[in-house]
């Protein structure tokens, strides 16, 4: 009989153990690494579903490490938001692990063992940030995640410079987070998130507490590539190996956003945001600029992965815009939490497809070389069109649902200018995806070349692509049928949002 209360710690521990197992197994048989990784993530994903089910039916899970009572010991807390993010992260990790088998064998043939070891450490870090209820523990897992990320990005030759830039900026972000934790500790003497949320309200006027918040905002803003701090992101996404691009774009950025939401609503509370109302104005306007900037820059790119990276800047903007207006609507965090899943699925699928083109021929990162590609790779091309339509927010896709709820929230809050920003972004998104589709289908390539190079990517890469492309639409329908709404309601009621005072 398995006990669901212990799953949060097992999710992290299994992943960490499998990292070392892979390292040892790699000495004997290099091919086994991938299967160990997939098996581990599958077990973790099943656990994550059990946790989600348990959280929704029985309530929040508290796990005390070593039996030490909080606030003295480290506590793992899993509520509706954690469990939901955990499922997203592990699902994307599983898809990416299946896809990486052929992709990594093709791109990094000599580094299979080390790739899967570091990949598993990355997943350990992501799960750790998600399940923990302790500030310092969160910092340590954030660093495990990011250090693994730096190493993975730099594992390809062209990614070296991008990896180093990310390392420097990411370390500055991590140092700011550490400094913020130190500030909070110096005024409260506690590191437990729940304990902090009880100790902080009388101290909201304190300069140290306010300075700590600025440090958290800046530090986690770097990690999630929020607008003025995104400069590392386009290079890192574009030059990383294709499987790595998928996991960092779809899962890692979501974990950083989750960490920010946790600090904003669980450590500081919605009350803090209501007292310092200019805070939400700053977040909303930065997010609006991020959306415009990201969309316009994506239009100007001829490197496919860079285009998707700038589009990610815009989509982080969507989520933060939803966070910025969460206190002034009855929808609360609904659009933000919704878009965590929607963006993970859509951007994951786009990077899988970009990787598939590069797998086919190394220079196919360049959109100018795309003519005739739609006929060379018919199935991948169709998957790309479906995902692009979802990104362009055609109903009932995942992108459409986000836009719908965002605009409902803006209309309710009376912020029409942000609704205009979103509509502008949708139009620009349509243009840059149309440009790619036009290059693939409407421009005719050389006939003999098309005949010679006709051929698809291997089945183990095609199935993940199709699965995510289908999910882009299925999640949209599921959201519209309001099936996962208990999660959103639980998140809103937990954070005291959704009621306008």
């Amino acid at each position: 009989m398995l006990i669901v209360e212990q799953f949060p710690v097992l999710v992290v521990a299994i992943s960490l153990l499998s990292a070392f197992t892979i390292l040892v197994a790699g000495l004997v048989n290099k091919k086994s690494c991938c299967f160990i990784s997939i098996a581990t993530i599958l077990v973790q994903l099943v656990m994550a579903f059990y946790i989600l089910n348990h959280v929704l039916t029985e309530g929040t899970i508290h796990y005390w490490l070593g039996g030490w009572k909080p606030p003295w010991g480290i506590e793992y807390v899993v509520d509706a938001l954690n469990a939901y993010v955990l499922v997203i992260v592990l699902f994307i990790a599983l898809i990416c692990a299946i896809y990486s088998k052929r992709s990594i064998e093709h791109e990094l043939p000599h580094k299979l063992v080390s790739f899967y070891t570091v990949y598993q450490l990355l997943i350990t870090g992501m799960c750790g940030v998600t399940v923990t209820g302790d500030m310092f523990n969160m910092y340590v897992f954030l660093e495990i995640m990011c250090i693994a990320g730096y190493a993975l990005i730099a594992s390809s030759k062209i990614g070296l410079k991008a990896g180093f830039t990310y390392l420097v900026m990411g370390s500055i972000g991590a140092c700011f987070v550490l400094l913020g934790i130190g500030f909070l500790y110096s005024v409260t003497g506690s590191l437990n998130m729940h304990d902090l949320s009880l100790l902080l309200p009388p101290l909201y006027g304190n300069r140290v507490v306010q300075a700590a918040f600025v440090f958290f905002f800046t530090g986690l803003g770097i990690k999630m590539a929020f607008f003025p701090l995104h400069t590392w992101q386009p290079d890192a996404y574009a030059y990383a190996p294709s499987a790595v691009s998928v996991i960092i774009a779809a899962a890692m950025s979501k974990v950083s956003i989750y960490a920010f939401l946790r600090v904003l609503f669980s450590v500081y509370t919605a009350e803090f945001i209501r007292i310092y109302a200019p805070l939400t104005t700053v977040i909303s306007w930065l997010a609006a600029i991020a959306i415009i900037f990201g969309s316009v820059y994506a239009l100007a790119q001829y490197n496919l992965k860079r285009m998707f990276a700038y589009s990610s800047v815009a989509h982080v903007g969507y989520i933060m815009l939803a966070v910025g207006i969460c206190t002034s609507t009855t929808l609360g965090l609904t659009p933000a939490v919704m878009h965590l899943l929607n963006h993970a699925v859509m951007k994951g699928c786009l990077f899988l497809i970009a990787g598939a083109f590069i797998y086919k021929r190394a220079e196919l990162w360049d959109i100018m070389k795309f003519p005739g590609l739609g006929r060379k790779m018919p199935y991948t091309g169709i998957a790309f069109i479906f995902t692009a339509l979802a990104m362009c927010d055609i109903p009932p896709s995942a992108g459409f649902v986000t836009i719908l709820y965002l605009i409902l929230a803006f209309l309710e809050a009376g912020q029409f200018i942000f609704a205009a920003v979103i509509l502008f972004s949708v139009i620009v998104t349509f243009f840059y995806f149309f440009h790619v589709v036009e290059m693939m289908y409407l421009r005719v390539g050389v006939e003999e070349e098309i005949e010679k190079e006709r051929g698809e990517i291997p089945m183990s890469m095609l199935i993940p692509v199709f699965l995510l492309a289908a999910l882009c639409w299925i999640t949209g329908v599921i959201w519209l049928m309001k099936i996962p709404f208990p999660i959103l309601d639980a998140v809103n009621s937990m954070f005291g949002l959704g009621v306008v005072p």
Binding site: Y139, E143, I147, S171, L178
Partner: protein, 132 residues
């Protein structure tokens, strides 16, 4: 003036030192062209934060706190103890810092093998020539 000097600077000199070190490290990370110097800046930045945490631990009044090994005899003699928790946190943070520095140095070595230089501007120039 002198009172201010004693209260704000001397009594809190360890905090001032850590702030100055943080700024030095931060400057080196964003302004230096040499990648090794950036890594050195990173180390200074992290170490300065460790100093800040260690300063937090000493919560005792003027007879400064001693090592937190509690015994009956010491309590009778009126010893004050430092808070051990920041020390433990920093022990973990040092491990994180070592890992970051190790990855950073490994990347610098790979960059040197690839481009033959560790000046950031020259690497960017070489990348531009390769058409990336």
């Amino acid at each position: 003036m002198i009172e201010w000097f004693i209260e704000e600077l001397l009594a809190k000199y360890n905090y001032w030192v850590s702030i100055i070190l943080i700024l030095i490290g931060f400057y080196a990370m964003i302004a230096k062209d040499n990648l090794i110097k950036k890594v050195i800046g990173l180390s200074i930045f992290q170490t300065a934060i460790f100093l800040f945490y260690i300063s937090l631990a000493d919560i005792g009044p003027i007879p400064k706190g001693t090592a937190p090994i509690v015994s009956e005899e010491m309590i009778h003699m009126g010893y004050v103890y430092v808070n051990p928790l920041p020390h433990v946190l920093i022990l973990t943070a040092i491990v994180v810092a070592v890992a970051t520095t190790a990855v950073a140095l490994a990347l610098v070595i790979r960059l040197y093998e690839e481009y033959g230089t560790i000046e950031e501007s020259e690497i960017i120039e070489l990348e531009r020539q390769r058409g990336l």
